[in-house]
Amino acid sequence: MNKERRSEILATAPSFLWLAMFVLVPVLIIFAIAFRPALPAGGIGEGWSLDAVRSLAEPAYLSLLLRTLWISALTTAACIALSLPVAYAMARLTPVWRSRVLLLVIVPFWTNFVIRVFAWQQILHAQGYLAELLRGLHLIGPNDRLLGNLGAVVLVSVYTYLPFSILPLFAAAEKFDFGLLDAARDLGAKPARAFFGVFVPGVRQGIITAFLVVFIPMLGSYVVPDMVGGTGTQMIGNKIAQRNFSDRNLPEAAALSGALALLVLAPMFLRRKEKPQ
């Protein structure tokens, strides 16, 4: 072991220990709890049991999983679709304007996330101004609701995660050689063709990062579907909360959490395969 390697290990040791203590160990505890029996009163029993893990085979979970994937995918797709032109436009700005707009992208983080979702709850409320306005314009029927449905969950999720997809895409767009778009136009491409045929492949790494930073947290989404969604938009996170707080069945909650953790690892492998390029 050479000197450089040793100092590298020393330098990364604290964060490694931190992660081991507060991420790896808790995750392992959760995996362990999944194999414990549940006590009727809500505690964790002695000994080992496969009941909680077997409960994952419940048919209802399949639709829950599919719904979670669907909402996450919709949100991720919308975030990337919106971020691409934003990142493009930002990268073309003069440096002064670029940092101003960058600040605007980050400004929402100055307000607590739950408060912002609460604000959306007010905006989308059935008696809110927006609903009144849309009703007045006959764009929605008298009984249509803006809240409690898939649309609300995706809308607020997109709002929440948009900065997370703009930032990596902007970082990629900033490095993109815009001369390539001139070259594409020169070779006969219309602006849209140049954008999709040259710019989008050019910021591919940014798209992959944006996908990961939106899709993975979305799989564990809990607050947004809880606050602006309804029964039809329940996601795995909500089910875990329900098992935990209402049903007081900790092993089943742990089994679901473990399954979610494994699900999250899948897109990480996508990243692994991309890296060597």
Binding site: L180, A183, D186, L187, G188
Partner: protein
């Protein structure tokens, strides 16, 4: 001869700065036409307007008699080879070349044939599957040329295509480019700030300075008969002499007094009458340096001076010779090896000799252009 690509009173301003100022150029079909000028003189701006990336503030651009000024780049039968190559990094060499034909919706077999032809032309068949990042600079350059040429443009625009390459490769690609031009017969507009490149590849050269065209003509004409002090000084090296015409010898030659220098015979490259102030450009290689006083003849000028600086360049040697108030630069080829004691050295008195025909009277002289001339190293 009818012009094929025509710039008509083209002007482009950036704010209060005029990058291209009322430019008129007529380019013939099939010729290699160079835009030559120092950095920032507006060459790229002019080329971008021809390609459609930029619009003139005034004037128009005609291709084959048709006004193409309002057309976007994708609607112009013109392709560009960019200085930075601008190859698509996510596409292979083959797909880079096929980019244009695919957009133009050529049939698949025509695309394959067209791309193969180009790969043959640039001799990169073996590398067709590689990505640009895996290619050397020279290869990238050739792919950029092929990617533009495959579309069979009416005019190919090349913006300093060799600037990023080393000298040897540049010389080789220049020859290759010339061969490609002969083979495809497409009109080339070649932008460069390298006079050697422009001289060797062009049928005609337009010398640009500060957004305007100083002179247009074949390389030899630009070199031998520069219109202005800028052209004379930017292309090659020269000496400027200014004097007053004292006497007309015959319709072709005059006598002229140069202050602190003496009386010399000049060729009337432009009509002059006694009393006129004239500016003469005298190329260093036209001056013969000798240690003995040459036998004088009517149209020969001979003047004595002292060698102030000598620089050996291998193929030739440069002498800076002080003649009264003037310091002239002379250049001597080494046809055969000269023994050291024979060649003039620092401090020697030598004679400079030239024929009246060897100087050229400038139509336009600006003192600032003296700054473009090569000076001897001051601290030597």
């Amino acid at each position: 001869m009818a012009s094929y690509l025509r710039f008509e009173n083209v002007t482009r301003r950036f704010g209060s700065f005029t990058a291209v100022d009322d430019v008129n150029i007529d380019i013939q079909q099939g010729e290699t036409f160079s835009l030559l000028g120092p950095s920032g003189c507006g060459k790229t701006t002019l080329l971008r307007m021809a390609a459609g990336f930029d619009k003139p503030d005034a004037g128009r651009i005609l291709l084959d008699g048709k006004d193409i000024t309002p057309l976007p780049p994708d609607k112009r039968p013109v392709n560009t080879v960019f200085q930075s190559y601008a190859l698509f990094p996510h596409l292979s060499v083959r797909d880079n070349i096929a980019f244009g034909p695919k957009i133009a919706k050529w049939p698949q077999d025509a695309i394959t044939r067209g791309v193969d032809e180009m790969l043959d032309l640039i001799d990169l068949k073996a590398h067709a599957g590689k990505k640009p990042a895996q290619l050397s600079g020279g290869m990238k350059q050739r792919v950029a040329i092929a990617r533009a040429l495959v579309n069979k443009p009416k005019v190919l625009l090349l913006d300093e295509p060799l600037a990023a390459l080393d000298l040897k490769l540049r010389q080789r690609l220049l020859v290759e480019l010339d061969a490609i031009h002969d083979e495809v017969g497409i009109t080339f507009i070649y932008v460069t700030h390298d006079q050697g490149e422009a001289m060797s590849i062009s049928d005609r050269i337009a010398v640009m300075n500060k957004g305007t065209i100083e002179q247009v003509g074949p390389p030899a004409e630009i070199y031998e008969a520069p219109r202005s002090s800028f052209v004379a000084a930017f292309i090659g090296d020269t000496n400027f002499l200014d004097g007053r015409v004292t006497e007309a010898i015959d319709p072709r030659f005059s006598r002229c007094e140069v202050n602190g220098f003496g009386s010399i015979v000049i060729d009337n490259d432009k009509p002059v009458t006694p009393g006129d102030r004239v500016h003469l450009s005298l190329r260093p290689e036209k001056l013969l340096v000798s240690r003995e006083q040459p036998s004088s003849s009517d149209l020969e000028n001979a003047i004595a001076g002292k060698v102030e600086d000598v620089i050996y360049f291998g193929s030739h040697t440069r002498y800076w010779v002080r003649c009264g108030e003037w310091r002239l630069c002379a250049e001597m080829q080494h046809r055969k090896y000269q023994l050291d004691e024979q060649s003039p050295k620092w401090g020697d008195t030598v004679w400079l000799r030239w024929h009246a025909n060897d100087g050229f009277l400038l139509e336009q002289y600006r003192a600032e252009d003296e700054g473009l001339l090569t000076l001897p190293d001051e601290d030597s």
